[in-house]
Symmetry: D2
Subunit: 255 residues, 4 copies
């Protein structure tokens, strides 16, 4: 049994610093690097990619809506062609940095509102998955487990990674319970660890209504912007390893 | 005797349209495509690259300072590392579009104030030439004939294209006479054609002070944004061909 | 009987030019001047305001979503507080230019997707009307006749101007038939003129389904970006004047 | 003897947080609030202005170059007309927020590279001082003591505030020793306090070459982004008050 652990990274902009705890590079196996539209700037991208490759962490693009002021968290009603072109632009830009250091871009994970919109809108998901495929058909597309993003990416012929969340409650349809709803974020570390192990061993998760639903845990999403989240990752890793689950990025798995 | 004819292209932004006369694609052999910082947006870039490749015109990146409001024509005092990272970002982004259509990026030509600044500042020129090299060491770097840009690019090991201007007066040091000076732009079509032929045949140009200086005409810069400039290109092409000079892009020359 | 004629203006950005036909200043009585978020930049705003005041045309702010790449035509899901703050910023900026030339800002008309969203969403309309009121409670708020924008603005205590469209078909609920639907734009000049006169004299308009609905024609929206639209305005003005309807801006009406 | 204490504030952008320690509002008498070009966004501006007015701290505009990615710290070669228009836009926008809460904008202090450029370039200083005057001739213009900014502002007829720095070494010509030079920032708190008192009592400062030069301390620039700088302000305030120097903002002084 193998699983990837991914983390958003490189979302600073100019002098504005955010969430780049270097320690996370010791625990995550895949990094989602911001591409300049919702966060990240060319200098940040260059430094982030260089550091990640030095540490041996796999690098992916983390493209978002063109909305720095809203950090890509606000829905923008784009045409599918616009969404596709915005993806191509951002993925191409990050791919350039990765290749300039002799690396290979591993994956693409949409950010924020684009991630959520694509999970529910097959046409949008298809458009952005096309962008990924056309930039490089070997890229792995990350999307929330069992939703439209994965469905569209598969249709196009992309390799996909079903993403699961350790510390978030699920609705019965497999979507995440909104952060605006009380107790949607699980703060008990042991419960998070237990959930993840069950996802990996038995491929199910218990929803907020105590229903068991199917889930595919190819990659676990973690955050590294505070000490508490770092401890959660550490604990997840340790417990997974104890259980005999290997934590490994996709590009290594494929070697 | 062979020469390339290059033209800036794809500088529209959103609904704002600029200078994209499709007829120019019948006369230019290399296009410098804006990359989103001074002009161009992902949709424009996608459409431009697709059209250029269909027409068989070679595509290059045309990166500029991050200044849409000033169209990249205003000097910004960047650190060399910033300049390099901004170049990598823009070139990578355009390269992605080109490769998504099965093409190959041919060259890089800096835009506006960045073009002019690099011509005079070896350190800046070196930084941006490094960016080109690190993205893809086979890219050809376009810079004004015999100035710092070319010197730095050669030092790094890049192939270079010395650029000449058909309708602009030169200073004795090989730089262009500023547009703000009277008669700096040559409006007599025959004189432009005659100058270009002399550049190619005898490798010199007569400066505004009637001095003959050495010039290397690897590629001629033309514009396509009005009927008059289109006529100039047409006339240059016809007369060059009559003289037995072949007009051909670099990637074809190398085949 | 009196009516105002308003026109969007000053939507250029940097070297990108759009729709600023000076002749329109002879026909429109109120200008909606872009404020930098969807179009317009400080230099354009300064020049536009100066010119409008010289010509004696009343100046209003034309704030939009922060989306230059989409020209403010794409819905962005803002919080009400964000929408309100974005309005205050843009109106304040334009008001500064107007007052710097000794003028007085007359009105505010939201642009593009923000205009359409507010017409249907009372909460959003209320938030942006609050912004107008807090910047200057004497500003007149322009919105499509009889929709949520006007309702919210009245509730807050603002003066309002019900806007009507000469060349657009209406749905039975008073909204405009989408441009994407065939024949939604009326191209017959005489029919446009006839409709406007009926709106002003009898306060009704015939919808696309031939139903007569109430309409309040405080201000007529016109465009000035091509010769045909200029002719339409000219014809509307001439025919209104023949019918004894006075064309006058609000600030003059109030004197 | 009276002096003002000013502090930059409201430079956050979207989710990016910077330097807004609320405690500073207990020590500073004038706030320089970012206006969206180098930092600050409409929501941040709205919240900052509201908070400052509640606390009774005088609010000024802190306009900068249009360069969020460089935080306004990089020189951009603008025309004087561009610089003037960019100032009018930003001051107008902030003035709108201040007036929407019933306040009155007190002053304008240019930010970063624009502050430094104007100190040395009379023409640029004149252009931006004109912008201030045209927006509101009662605004106070803040500039480094005895340099071009103050000279130009006086010529135009603006009230000015000569700004001094407690913790920075001066060159013999009254400019600041660059941060890139060793020991240019004074870390000894007592020495800072002692310098400020001498500036106010005797109107001189000792330069890095131990020369005494004239200085006019209308307002002292402080920072509030870390605990150490907060302690410095606290110490300056306490010691000034002990010496019988009153700390008061300009608008209160004028009452």
């Amino acid at each position: 049994m193998k699983v990837d652990v991914n983390c958003d990274y490189g979302e600073s902009y100019g002098i504005y610093r955010i969430s780049d705890n270097e320690k996370i590079l010791d625990y995550a196996t895949s990094l989602n690097v911001a591409c300049g539209f919702h966060g990240g700037d060319p200098v940040v991208m260059d430094m982030t990619v260089k550091k990640a490759l030095e540490k041996g962490v796999a690098v992916g693009a983390h493209p978002g809506y063109p909305d720095l002021m809203g950090f890509g968290r606000r829905h923008i009603k784009l045409s599918h062609y616009e969404a596709k072109a915005y993806m191509k632009y951002q993925i191409g830009a990050l791919k350039g940095f990765v290749e300039s250091y002799g690396g290979k871009l591993q994956h693409v994970k949409p950010h924020g509102a684009l991630y959520n919109d694509a999970a529910k809108d097959y046409e949008l998901a298809y458009a952005i998955a096309e962008a990924v495929y056309e930039i490089d058909k070997d890229l792995i597309f990350f999307g929330i487990s069992n939703q439209k993003t994965i469905e569209a990416a598969k249709k196009i012929g992309l390799k996909t990674a079903n993403e699961v969340f350790a510390d978030r409650e699920y609705n019965d349809d497999g979507t995440l319970v909104s952060r605006s709803i009380k107790n949607s974020v699980i703060t008990n570390k042991d419960r998070c660890v237990d959930r993840v192990i069950k996802m990996i061993k038995y491929n199910y998760v218990e929803t907020i209504n105590s229903k068991k639903i199917d889930i595919i845990p190819d990659t676990i999403c973690v955050h590294g912007d505070n000490e508490k989240s770092l401890e959660l990752i550490k604990s997840i890793r340790e417990n997974l390893e104890k259980t005999g689950i290997e934590i490994i990025s996709f590009n290594k798995r494929l070697d």
